[in-house]
Symmetry: none
Subunit: 223 residues, 2 copies
DNA sequence: CTGAGCCGTTCAGGCTCCCGAAAGGTTCGA
DNA sequence: TCGAACCTTTCGGGAGCCTGAACGGCTCAG
């Protein structure tokens, strides 16, 4: 879990950084508004901690700007003034939560966890490999934007392979993971289902979605 | 705006209820943990006020249980002890905010409004899926502007599905969420009610409002 | 009090379509 | 060239799902 901390107070950032790292997060720091904007737009963060008092740009503006440019990363605002107006405005500009200074560290961690959990509920991270895209929640497979109808087994097998994209997966592994640990049948089922997936996934171009690695298993390209 | 108040203190609940009703909310009360769980899972509430000290089940447990079973309604916890741990734990179990007793009534109202506003931001489409629109407060379903008469169960099931629009929901989940965690009957009831909903919702065009995902569950299109 | 009507649930019959076994053909590597 | 590994098609059994019917409980109006 990677956090972006946008704050100009060197003492506070150092303390927060240390604490959050101790909690198992990886933390990057931006020391002013423009840098925060720039970094946040680069993406790759699971959550943004944003102080309201910033040199270069007010926290509200950074927040609104990010939302306007399509950044959906959860934002936790650190408000300085007291009073409800401040906090209401934070939420109105697109922040997901706020925390009034001074705050205790456990409360901060709890809020971060709550936000991450909520975000995880909303977007269960799509699986992508090449032009293949799996939405596990909706149980949908898309190839180049086009939905591909798959049966339950086919979808499970494809999910298993995409989750291990780039690696060679043996038939034994596949049988244990997709079918059952104690599957006693013919390993030929795997071949049968790989063939079915290929027929549905492979385009008219000769490119195969699932490679065969003779004597070892199967592999799906990771990009 | 409909609130669920889960608290066993008769004096406090009566006072709160009266005050909140005067503020324009409609308020229902549950007097212990199990009843709170049951009602909250029924859905239809815009916010849940949850006291930590409860007979039958601790507030944390109720909260965690609700989140685990997919209830996304904002939860405002009323904590009794002081100390940050209590509050951090409240947030960690899935509460959206907490309020330390004793609190003043205006502060409570402010928090409720803040949470509702935040929830509104988080869910841009307030229970709309396709040409379907649910007015949870009035317990009315509209399809293309036309009201569709639904029984209580049918409405609950539809609400459950629309709240999870775009996702595949298994029959087990549905039984736990719409019926009861400890439902021991035939999962066929779900099929029966899906069929009834379809008969009422589906237009003369062949398009199905509720898709069947064989081997996985049901899905309602998110737009 | 009482009967009509609605609601939730169960059950059985029927249907579709998926799963996996089997078997013969094909490709690869030594 | 030969054998092993893999591919592909076919097909019967059955899981999973749909639906109409029926039954008991509950709520009302009369």
């Amino acid at each position: 879990m990677k956090l972006l901390l946008v704050d100009d107070d060197a003492v506070l950032t150092r303390a927060l950084r240390r604490g959050l790292v101790a909690e198992g997060f990886s933390v990057e720091v931006a020391f002013d508004g423009p840098e925060g904007l720039w970094r946040a737009r680069e993406g790759g963060y699971d959550l943004i901690l944003l102080d309201i008092m910033l040199p270069g740009a007010h926290g509200y503006r950074v927040c609104a700007e990010l939302r306007r440019s399509g950044v959906l990363t959860p934002i936790l605002m650190l408000t300085a003034k007291d009073g409800d107006l401040d906090e209401a405005e934070a939420l109105d500009t697109g922040a997901d939560d706020y925390l009034r200074k001074p705050f205790s560290f456990p409360v901060l961690v709890a809020r971060v966890h709550a936000l991450l959990r909520r975000a995880a509920l909303g977007t269960p991270a799509p699986l992508v490999a090449g032009d293949l895209r799996l939405d596990v929640g909706a149980r949908r497979a898309l190839r180049g934007g086009e939905p591909v109808p798959l049966t339950a087994r086919e979808f499970d097998l494809l999910t298993y392979l995409v989750r291990r994209a780039g690696r060679v997966v043996s038939k034994r592994e596949i049988l244990a993971g997709v079918w059952d640990d104690a599957f006693e049948g013919d390993p030929n089922v795997v071949e049968v289902y790989v063939a079915r997936l290929r027929r549905k996934l492979d385009g008219p171009d000769g490119r195969r979605s699932i490679e065969t690695v003779r004597g070892a298993g199967y592999r799906i390209a990771d990009r």
